[in-house]
């Protein structure tokens, strides 16, 4: 049974040969469709609020365009196979995979490919059980929660543990595959994780690979992009850098990017959180302060970082 509103598909789809010249000449109102779904708004918001990520934005625009055209085709009575929407997001930590997944859910909802547009983010622990017979109900429970929306599986490769052949992860994968196939109308699955590990995962699970239509790779941010992100985050939190602080932060990032466990935007957020902590401590120690002091992060707050002391 399908619950998707198919109001537009009033008549049975037509084969290409059956189309008359008049029908072919009839104009299809793409603009009205774009307006109606307000898809531009979401895409623009994506452009505005996410720094960098050029290839990702391109790919999302392509997918959105395809879905829009598919809907238009259906509305004029052309045969249109239902698209496969399951995706994989690969990239290093902190490159915006979860954020983009949230937006993707919104886009799919606007275009009518998922009914609710919510995002359920899970990891291996939410899907795989502790003992025999525990995995299937657990996975199904998560899938049921995600129905009508998008299921985001972070670090999906941990589902598959080749070194332990009795690992329950395999069971979760099988249920997942089945639902991805039979409930394509009900939910969209996005798998996310590091590029190399995901590739390895897909190599050992060819069934999974063939059910995923879109592979999107998230590049690392450049230094300038990270600074831009930092400025954006600060503005959201109601702080600002002094020029000296900004320079210090640039030097901080240069060093931090060379260090292990650098997690792109997440590292920026953590660094800013620590800077706020030091700023608060500095003001507290001084006793008196102005409103300007409260919103300003100074170079001193950043230069005290461990990153500078080690080198």
């Amino acid at each position: 049974m399908t619950l998707r509103p198919e109001a537009e598909a009033a008549e049975a789809p037509k084969a290409l040969e059956a189309l008359t010249p008049e029908e072919l000449a009839r104009s299809a109102d793409l603009k009205a469709f774009v307006r109606e779904t307000a898809i531009d708004e979401v895409l623009d918001q994506l452009d505005r609020e996410l720094v960098g990520l050029k290839p990702v934005k391109m790919k999302i625009r392509e997918i959105a365009a395809l879905l829009l055209v598919d809907r238009l085709r259906r509305s004029v009575g052309l045969k249109t196979p239902p698209p496969t929407l399951h995706m994989s997001f690969t990239g290093n930590p902190g490159t915006g995979k979860t954020t983009v997944a949230l937006r993707m859910a919104q886009i799919l909802h606007r275009l009518g490919y998922v009914r609710k547009g919510h995002l359920v983010a899970v990891t291996r622990d939410d899907l795989v059980g502790q003992y025999i017979g525990h995995t299937a109900p657990k996975t199904k429970e998560v899938l049921k929660r995600a129905m009508g929306g998008v299921l985001f599986i972070d670090e999906a490769y941990y589902l598959y543990r080749p070194e332990n052949e009795r690992d329950y992860g395999q069971e979760a994968i099988e249920i997942l595959l089945q639902v991805m196939e039979t409930h394509r109308d009900d939910l969209v699955v996005i798998l996310a994780g590091y590029k190399e590990k995901m590739d390895q995962f897909f190599r050992s699970n060819p069934g999974m690979r063939s059910r995923i239509a879109h592979h999107i790779d998230f590049p690392d941010y450049t230094l300038d992009e990270l600074l831009e992100i930092a400025r954006l985050m600060l503005r959201e939190q109601g702080y600002r850098f002094t020029p000296a602080a900004e320079e210090a932060f640039r030097r901080y990032l240069e060093r931090r990017m060379q260090m292990p466990h650098f997690a792109n935007a997440r590292s920026v957020r953590n660094a800013l959180d620590r800077a706020r902590l030091r700023q608060a401590n500095r003001l507290f120690a001084r006793g008196a302060c102005t409103v300007a002091d409260l919103v300003t992060i100074d170079a001193a707050d950043i230069l005290q970082s461990r990153v500078f002391q080690d080198g």
Binding site: P137, K144, R145, M147, G148, H183
Partner: protein, 142 residues
């Protein structure tokens, strides 16, 4: 005229279609009620102990998950009564806000009235379901 069990909400309407069930479930989900599926072959109105089909479903957004479970339950128990209940926990105790039958055996068995004569020619009445004359699991057949 064959017997038709009437219990819960919508009991005097024709059986709900899957689409109508989905709409009712959506109504419940919109109000934050948890959905539970139960089945039984003892349809006595005072039988409150129906068997649970899986666990109650919390945190759902979409009725298709409930319909999926209803379908699975119908496949497993084609000759049982199946009902959907929606719990409203906002009162701080488990309260059924909505409960309706979504599946019934093909041939339903009715009830008969038992009259018991007691002191002073008084009569006590009680209901007995024909179904429960047979053991559990064998009560309804195609």
């Amino acid at each position: 005229m064959s017997f038709r069990l009437t219990q819960g909400t919508f009991s005097y309407l024709p059986d709900l279609t899957d689409e109508e069930i989905a709409k009712q479930v959506q109504y419940a989900l919109d109000r934050g009620w948890a959905i539970n599926i139960e089945f039984t072959d003892d349809p006595h109105p005072r039988n409150v102990y129906w068997d649970m089909w899986g666990l109650p479903m919390f945190d759902l957004q979409d009725p298709s998950a409930v319909l999926y479970e209803i379908q699975k339950c119908r496949e497993a128990y084609p000759n049982h009564y199946i009902r959907v209940s929606a719990y409203d926990r906002s009162y701080g105790r488990q309260t059924i806000a909505l409960q309706f039958i979504v599946h019934r055996p093909k041939h339903e068995l009715g009830f008969h009235v038992i009259r018991q004569e007691v002191r002073d020619r008084q009569i006590r009445y009680t209901l007995h379901s024909y179904a429960t004359d047979r053991p559990k699991g064998e009560r309804y057949v195609d």
